[in-house]
């Protein structure tokens, strides 16, 4: 009974200890990957800054802003969503937060009579929406932790292609929203929902104004409109890529936090169970002592014929408690 209970407790402690080892390892791995993911975010910044600057210069140089990717459509009948989630779980609320944000946005649009089209990145989003029998337009996965530009391009192209088709055609959209987790700092990540298409003209106009000082008279080859036509898709791809890199860094940060919490919980649990196990063991010993003392007393009473001798010289404690106190066997 008592010893059985104790054995069960010890076994649980052991299993928690090995779980703790795993969560601790995952925590450390995630911590080191955050740094790498952040470096990737930083390394990608020059390109997106430059491409924005070039776009500004083209706009300032007289490129017409009548490209389809810039045209607002009215009414918007169908909204596309690009949703960036992870391929793996064990990252706390990371996946569920971004998925929930997307589902809410989708339902808000539905409430206003707009249809949806999903472009999913990451296994977790796909699993969620497939299980709930949402209609999935495109799903991509297998790269969430280390996204390459090529991965971003595939996702962006799929969404752009649907947007260009328009809601008039099967699977087309009038607007595209990009939902991902922005990496603000090690401690803070936030799910954001930004409009990807049509692109905000103001962004381009701001970039045009931001051009350093008086606009230099650029020579364009071919003419600005044609360059812009090539540049806009690259810009959209770049934004999706930046979002994926941010999401990857956020995923690692979320995983690190989740695994740290798991490790701490395991530690607490081990402490608590060890206390309980010790108590059970102590209770068992006490019971046994009582049994032995009781037994010896009964024997002695029988021998002395009922006369109680309170100071027996023949029974020594080391004889009675040999199993409990003398582990070394020195008295045996």
């Amino acid at each position: 009974m008592a010893s059985g209970q104790e054995r069960v407790l010890r076994r649980r402690i052991k299993s928690i200890q090995s779980t703790k080892k795993i969560t601790r390892a995952m925590e450390l791995i995630a911590a080191s990957r955050i740094v790498k993911a952040q470096q990737r975010v930083a390394a990608a910044r020059p390109y997106s800054e430059q491409i924005t600057a070039v776009m500004g210069n083209l706009a300032a140089g007289g490129a017409g802003l009548d490209h389809p990717l810039l045209q607002e459509r009215d009414p918007v009948r169908k909204v596309g969503f690009i949703l960036i989630s992870a391929d793996r779980g064990l990252a706390g609320a990371y996946n569920s937060t971004v998925i929930r944000t997307a589902e809410r946005a989708l339902q808000a649009h539905q409430a206003e009579g707009r249809d949806y089209e999903l472009t999913l990145s990451g296994k977790k989003a796909e699993g969620y929406f497939r299980y709930r029998e949402y209609r999935i337009g495109d799903a991509f996965s297998g790269y969430a932790e280390v996204p390459s530009y090529e991965d971003a391009r595939r996702v962006a192209r799929a969404a752009m292609e649907r947007y260009e088709r328009g809601s008039g055609e099967e699977g087309g959209t009038d607007q595209v929203e990009l939902i991902y987790t922005r990496f603000l700092s090690m401690g803070t990540q936030k799910v954001v929902n930004v409009r990807l298409l049509p692109m905000e003209r103001e962004a381009i106009e701001d970039a045009a104004k931001a051009g350093d000082g008086p606009q230099a008279a650029y020579e364009f080859e071919p003419e600005p409109g044609q360059i812009l036509e090539r540049l806009l898709p690259r810009y959209v791809e770049g934004r999706v890529f930046a979002a994926m890199l941010d999401a990857a860094a956020s995923e690692q940060a979320a995983r690190q936090r989740a695994m740290k919490a798991a490790t701490d919980n395991a530690e607490d649990l081990i402490k608590k169970l060890a206390t309980v196990a010790n108590k059970v063991r102590q209770a068992g010993i006490t019971t046994e002592i009582m049994e032995i003392v009781g037994g010896a007393e009964a024997l002695r009473l029988a021998k002395t014929g009922g006369k109680v001798d309170y100071f027996p010289e023949t029974v020594l404690s080391r004889d009675l408690l040999v199993d409990h106190l003398d582990r070394s066997g020195a008295y045996r």
Binding site: R40, A43, A44, P46, Y47, S48, Q50, I51, A53, V54, N57, L58, G61, S148, Y149, A152, R153, A216, A217, Y218, E219, F220, E221, P222, P224, Q226, I227, R230, L231, R234, E237, G238, F241
Partner: protein, 125 residues
């Protein structure tokens, strides 16, 4: 006076340094060379080779599309698919070239890319 050159891909800055001359291929005008004091210039690039001539030698890269901006002796080349010659795997490029045999757009594009990579690798060696 030298040119300040940056070759930027979406994933990282591939090359950054000073140069005497930069040669690249634009969509409309064929090969263009930039020297110091070039007028502000902005162009879309063709799939091809970019050459950066420095005092000590030449840096070669293959770009598959992209943009070049020249201003105040700064040359910025943006390309979503770019490779420095020293990073190009010649045997892979050759394989890609021999595999792209069709007449459709994709195959022609793939051949062009493979050619640009082989060209860049050859010039660098």
């Amino acid at each position: 006076m030298t040119l300040q050159v940056e070759l930027v891909s979406p994933e990282r800055i591939l090359y950054s340094g000073e140069a005497d001359m930069v040669v690249c291929r634009t969509v409309a005008g064929g090969e263009v060379a930039f020297l110091t004091g070039h007028a502000p210039f902005l162009a879309a690039l063709e799939t091809g080779v970019v050459r950066v001539k420095t005092g000590s030698g030449e840096e070669v890269a293959a770009v598959h599309g992209g943009f070049v901006e020249v201003r105040d002796n700064r040359v910025i080349i943006l390309s979503d698919v770019a490779e420095l010659a020293k990073d190009i795997d010649v045997s892979r490029a050759e394989r890609a070239k021999s595999e792209a045999t069709g007449d459709d757009e994709d195959a022609i594009e793939a051949r062009k890319r493979a050619d640009a990579r082989l060209d860049a690798a050859k010039r660098a060696s």
